[in-house]
């Protein structure tokens, strides 16, 4: 009963229903539905319309032929083909998987900086007024904004793709636990080595060029791994960090039957479907269409028109007005070019994304002033094909968020299975944030859809006197800490320390007090094995009785927390996956300072983490520098911190005194909630890790 209620409330949109039924019944029904008229315009390469060989094999396998496998596997054999066929159908019809990673935007014009590295900070960005439509010095067009970035561009463009689906993780007692989870669909090599998977455009917009296609479980399957016993191989041999599925779009050209303009909006009716999508560039050329000729961004497809079917027409905007209609031109063509434009193929996305869940979800890191394009690709939950579940990304703590990109399905939109949704953020104030799915939070968070994101401060990009650097930042009203803003968090420090950059800092402190040498994102979480088992077996989970039995730091319990490299789990499709790529061991070079970015997404209770031997200095809380409005640092030393779900905190472990913290010493971070020092039935392990001074 409970779950019925949940599902109904999550899926009130009538749009979801025909899709569910169409998907479950047949693709033909969808083609006929005028609401889904985009099938005819699709120009997907044919391979992605075919079920993968794996699916065909599963479809044709005689029932019961593998009776020695587990019940889980049999369930998977029944449902995997159905869902995969479903996914392929939806994706093909809607051309719904897609990534976005522009190389230039009005905030980050390529002409000023190539956006493939972080430019040094030398002061607030300079804007100049322009008239919309006017040609700017770099040749681009002034937008409706009426301003353009004319110098001191700050930050860059960052992109990342993640899958929303399911997977398995291995608990410290050896149990394999089913999860609803996110997995990496870009930055695979970085994620596997415990780094943030966030890419610059030049990394993200890279086609996979390996000798063999990406395999299910990659990079756990082709990096030199051996099968029996499984060895994860050499991470260095797999170096692909681009967007999985990214493919050159296919060139196409059609002759134009009619081209007309109303205001700035041009409607083009071709003699055949061009197969163009909104946002793609289209080139108009012809001897009698000179006013129209040029390359434009398509703004509408499937346009009803008096001549032909809607899928033969599309629209774009141009700067001119008053162009005469050209009917039955003999020379005019509309064409799209081959190239990387966000078009992806379905096959690699499903091969890599399905059953590829990570705990914690892929790590993200951006720099203040970056534009961040985060594409969530919903590959479906193979083990729960009954759910047709959407997923979202909630960037927890994003200040002045828009509800549209806030990821709460009740307050916004959520992407259905078979589609991609790109979240867009301007990197906010520096700090330790985190992210998670916001669909049925008690379920999806408990099931594992939790991850980490942090924003590095401008001060990292500044050399020179830190105080002067923070003063310069006050020139940017967006981050200025003037007295009128009650939520400002980092006013100028009361005490000038005279410290200078460059360096690494947790916040824009202006005094160097949050400087660190190494940083470790640590996420606290908990798994209730009963809930996960029920969640895998098509039964409604009870919420009131939820009780965590595995206590996790970065998805691992002690002693797995100190295991280096990615942890791997074999999923029910037989492939190996890097289920827990992020160790929780803290390695501090002797004499150095470590920043722990600690967040808690436990859904049931408060968790305490204590330090045995090396004091914790808390410098930030809830992604804000601990400083009062008068500029006094409010840091405090402690030996334990306590967080509830949805909180974060920045701790510096200062090992600069090598007489106290000599090389080779080992300290512990553990929970004084002593019943949490356990791995389910094992009275050992739990919420604990080690600090090694190297």
């Amino acid at each position: 009963m409970a779950l019925n209620c949940a599902r109904l409330s999550d899926k009130q949109d009538i749009n979801a229903r025909p899709r569910v039924f169409a998907c479950a019944s047949s693709a033909v029904a969808q083609e006929r539905d005028p609401e889904y008229g985009f099938f005819a315009g699709s120009h997907l390469p044919t391979p992605s319309l075919q079920p993968s060989p794996k699916v065909q094999k599963a479809l044709t396998a005689p029932p019961g032929s593998e009776g020695d496998r587990t019940v889980m596997k049999r369930a998977h054999q029944v449902w995997l083909p159905i869902l995969l066929v479903c996914l392929v159908t939806v994706a093909a019809n809607a051309q719904s998987f897609r990534v976005q990673c522009p190389t230039s935007t009005i905030t980050h014009p390529q002409a000023l900086h190539d956006n493939n590295s972080e430019p040094a900070y030398s002061g607030p960005t300079v804007y100049t007024a322009c008239t919309p439509g006017q040609t700017l010095p770099d040749g681009s067009t002034c937008s409706a904004w009426g301003r353009y970035v004319s110098s001191k561009v700050n930050g860059a463009i960052k992109c990342q793709q993640i899958s929303g689906g399911d997977g398995y993780a291995t608990m410290a007692d050896g149990t394999q636990t089913y999860m609803f989870s996110f997995g990496p669909l870009s930055g695979l090599a970085k994620i596997a080595s415990g780094q943030p998977g966030t890419d610059f455009p030049s990394e993200f917009n890279t086609l996979y060029s390996g000798a063999n296609p990406l395999q299910p479980g990659d990079p756990a399957t082709t990096n030199g791994a051996t099968d029996s016993p499984y060895s994860p191989g050499n991470l260095a041999t797999f170096s692909f960090n681009g967007a999985v599925g990214l493919a050159n779009d296919i060139a196409n050209a059609v002759s134009i039957y009619d081209i007309s303009e109303s205001g700035h909006v041009v409607t083009v009716v071709g003699n055949a479907p061009l197969g163009v999508a909104i946002g793609q560039k289209v080139t108009i050329a012809g001897q009698d269409t000179t006013g129209y000729n040029g390359t434009f961004t398509v703004t509408a497809v499937n346009v009803p028109n008096p001549f032909f079917a809607a899928n033969l027409a599309f629209r774009y905007s141009d700067p001119t007005t008053g162009l005469a209609e050209v009917l039955e031109s003999t020379s005019a063509t509309a064409s799209i070019r081959a190239g990387i434009d966000g078009h992806v193929e379905t096959r690699p996305i499903l091969d890599v994304g399905v059953m590829n869940g990570n705990i914690p979800a892929p790590l993200m890191a951006i720099d203040e002033d970056d534009e961040f394009f985060l594409t969530l690709t919903n590959v479906g939950m193979i083990m729960r094909p009954d759910l047709f579940e959407q997923h979202t990304v909630h960037f927890h703590g994003y200040p002045n968020a828009s509800s549209f990109y806030d990821g709460v399905p009740d307050a916004s939109v959520a992407i259905n299975i078979g589609g991609s949704f790109t979240y867009y953020y301007l990197a906010p104030d520096a700090g330790t944030y985190f992210w998670h799915c916001h669909i049925t939070p008690p379920e999806h968070l408990q099931m594992g859809m939790v991850g980490q994101i942090y924003v590095r401060p401008r001060q990292d990009r500044y050399s020179g006197d830190l105080y002067a650097g923070l003063q310069a930042q006050e020139g940017d009203l967006r981050t200025a800490c003037n007295s009128g803003d009650i939520l400002c968090s980092n006013p100028l420090p009361l005490v000038k320390t005279g410290k200078s950059g460059p360096g690494l800092y947790a916040y824009n402190d202006g005094d160097g007090s949050t400087q660190y040498d190494v940083e470790y994102p640590i996420q606290i979480h908990g798994f209730d094995p009963n809930f996960h088992f029920v969640g895998m077996t098509f039964n409604p989970e009870g919420f009131t009785d939820m009780k965590d039995k595995y206590f996790l730091l970065n998805g691992r319990s002690y002693p797995d927390t100190v295991t280096s490299g990615p942890m791997f789990t074999q999923t029910v499709d037989g492939s190996m996956h890097y289920s827990q790529p992020l160790p929780a061991i803290i390695n501090i070079p002797a004499g150095k300072r470590a920043l722990l970015r600690i967040s808690d997404l436990d859904v049931t209770e408060y968790q305490t983490l204590a330090s045995l031997g090396i004091p914790m200095t808390v410098v930030g809380y809830n992604a804000k520098l601990l400083r009062d409005q008068a500029g006094n640092n409010m840091y405090y030393n402690t030996n334990s911190i306590t967080l509830g779900g949805g909180e974060s905190l920045d701790v510096i472990l200062d090992a600069s005194d090598t007489s106290k913290y000599p090389s080779g010493s080992v300290f512990y971070l553990y929970t004084p909630n002593l019943d949490h020092l356990s791995n389910d039935a094992e009275n050992f392990g739990g919420l604990m890790t080690e600090v090694h001074i190297n």
């Binding site: 949940a6 009130q12 749009n15 409706a144 002045n400 939070p441 967006r478 919420f543 992604a623």
Partner: protein, 547 residues
């Protein structure tokens, strides 16, 4: 979901300001504020009644209520519609008093006889008790007798009150409430400048001031424009069931004149709560109006609304047994004070030193005051979807930045985009034009058919009916058949946005909830529990907190 019960009284009001003359205001009832009873002497009673939960359960509870119905003028805000104070409510009546003015609270124990004595603790005050009998922590009222507590509040702020007798049971049963002390002196900063402008703008758009006072504390940093009170508590239904069974057994025993009757002995451990409430209600009941007749014993709601730029005072109290990480989506909260103690900088009394939190942990017995606001600053796109090339004058409003970068000048005070963050004015978010919202921005939205819309989705990425209608329904299309027009109640897809209609509200909705996510359930049902939707509304939507 019972959120659909929300009444949408639609009124049309023509605005006088020339810049917005074309805009029609559509008023839906928003209800909230921090309602209570303002007096210097209160006559309370402790009684039993049943409280309603959204799973249909009526839970046997005890609570404080009014011994006599207060006069209409005692209820604040004064504009509240049809307020009531029954003889039992959960939480108890919110007592609103003024710093420095003596207060007396008389409590009559009308609990079932088997419940024994009861009392009220007022932590943070020096209390004198008269009458009653000596209890462990304070003077108690024996069954059917009265005890009177008097004290003089010496500092402003929000505090909890709760039973001091057999508290493990009586607080669990619902015997708690809030006391709000208003500052004696209002700082000049809170009645001039931007604070005064915000009140003026409310008036310009036909809204009423629903504040209890212009400031939470006597500090220029404690000004506010709107306020909400949230009390967090849990219910373990087994405790309530057992309490009722024992009370009935004791009553039957006494009625039969049995010489020895058992004493009340309800085990309160192990604790296993199934209901997680804000102001005594679970979501979605908490979003129904204050003093809604279907909740005779749960008069207070949790349904915050605000306009961009308004400083919103949150008065948050932990009344249950557990801590709850209350996550405010949308922005941080600056904690002003705890239990009526302003947290000031050690070096400057006019500077605040309370933390900035996106998750405000509620702690049993602890009250905190904090300021929240939402402006959209830093989105890097214009949430109003302004379009300088539109034929719609509302789409072409100006934005003239003040010293902080916001559109707050005198001219702006009658514009829909009052308090807009001007740096992003007109800045597009989408690559392609979206209806009558300009393109040229960084992102492309997916086909609307592969998205599922939420009940509080405003209908577009943009804020307010004007932007939403321009984005979704008002582009003139020479070939469209049938022609799309600007619908009065929203337009073309999306559908199902029932709780935040594109045509009348189209606010930005944010979930405010316990982030121990298990607690956003009602007895195993999701959604429920400690959850509500906060709406940031464009000025087109009148926020009416009169009930």
């Amino acid at each position: 979901m019972r959120a659909t019960n929300m009444k949408k009284a639609i009124l049309k009001t023509r605005l006088l300001a020339p810049m917005v003359a074309v805009a029609l205001l559509l008023t839906a009832t928003a209800f909230a504020a921090a309602p209570g009873i303002k007096a210097t002497s209160f006559a309370l009673t402790a009684q039993a009644a049943y409280v309603s939960q959204p799973d249909g359960q009526m839970i046997y509870s005890w609570g404080y209520g009014c011994a006599q119905a207060p006069g209409a003028s005692a209820f604040v805000p004064q504009t509240t519609t049809a307020p009531f104070c029954n003889t039992m409510q959960v939480p108890g009546p919110t007592l609103i008093v003024t710093e420095g003015v003596p207060v007396s609270v008389a409590l009559t124990n009308n609990l079932p006889v088997g419940a024994g004595n009861t009392s009220i603790l007022f932590p943070g005050f020096t209390v004198n008790a008269t009458g009653g009998v000596q209890g462990l922590l304070t003077q108690e009222a024996a069954p059917n007798t009265t005890v009177t507590y008097t004290f003089t509040p010496t500092s402003p702020g929000t505090r909890a009150y709760y039973s001091g007798t057999q508290s493990d049971l009586q607080v669990e049963m619902g015997m708690y409430g809030a006391i709000i002390v208003l500052p004696k002196t209002i700082p000049t900063a809170c009645t001039t400048g931007l604070a005064a402008a915000n009140v003026t703008v409310e008036g310009n758009f036909g809204e009423t001031d629903f504040r209890l006072a212009p400031a939470a504390y006597n500090s220029p940093k404690a000004c506010y424009d709107r306020e909400y009170l949230f009390q967090f508590s849990e219910i373990d239904p087994n405790i309530h069931t057992q309490a009722l069974a024992q009370i009935n057994a004791i009553a039957a025993c006494k009625a039969a004149s049995t010489p020895i009757c058992p004493n009340l002995d309800v085990p309160t451990e192990p604790y296993h709560p199934a209901y997680f409430m804000i102001n005594g209600r679970s979501m979605p009941d908490d979003m129904d109006p204050n003093y809604s007749p279907q909740y005779p014993h749960q008069p207070y709601n949790g349904n915050p609304h605000m306009h961009p730029g308004e400083q919103v005072l949150l008065r948050i109290i932990g009344q249950g047994r557990w801590q709850h990480p209350f996550h405010e989506h949308g922005n941080h909260v600056r904690i002003l004070g705890r239990d009526g103690n302003l947290i000031q900088s050690a070096t400057d009394a006019n500077s605040l030193a309370g933390p900035l939190l996106f998750t405000t942990t509620t702690t049993p017995g602890l009250a905190m005051d904090g300021i929240f606001y939402w402006t959209g600053r830093g989105l890097n796109w214009d949430p109003y979807g302004h379009n300088p090339n539109s034929t719609d004058p509302v789409a072409k409003l100006s934005c003239i930045p003040d010293a902080n970068g916001y559109n707050t000048g005198v001219a702006a005070q009658s514009q829909l985009n009052y308090y807009e963050w001007c740096a992003d004015h007109n800045k597009p978010v989408q690559v392609a034009p979206f209806g009558d919202v300009a393109g040229g921005g960084p992102v492309t939205l997916p086909d609307a058919n592969i998205l599922t819309n939420g009940a509080w989705y405003g209908g577009s990425p943009y804020l307010g009916p004007n932007a939403t209608q321009r984005a979704t329904g008002c582009s003139s299309d020479p070939y469209a058949n049938p022609k799309t027009t600007c619908g009065g109640t929203g337009s073309t897809p999306p559908s199902g946005t029932i709780a935040n209609p594109p045509g009348s509200e189209a606010g930005f909705a944010f979930m405010w909830h316990s982030h121990n996510e298990r607690e956003i359930t009602t007895n195993n049902i999701f959604p429920g529990g400690m959850m509500m939707m906060m709406l940031v509304d464009s000025r087109e939507f009148q926020i009416d907190e009169s009930n």
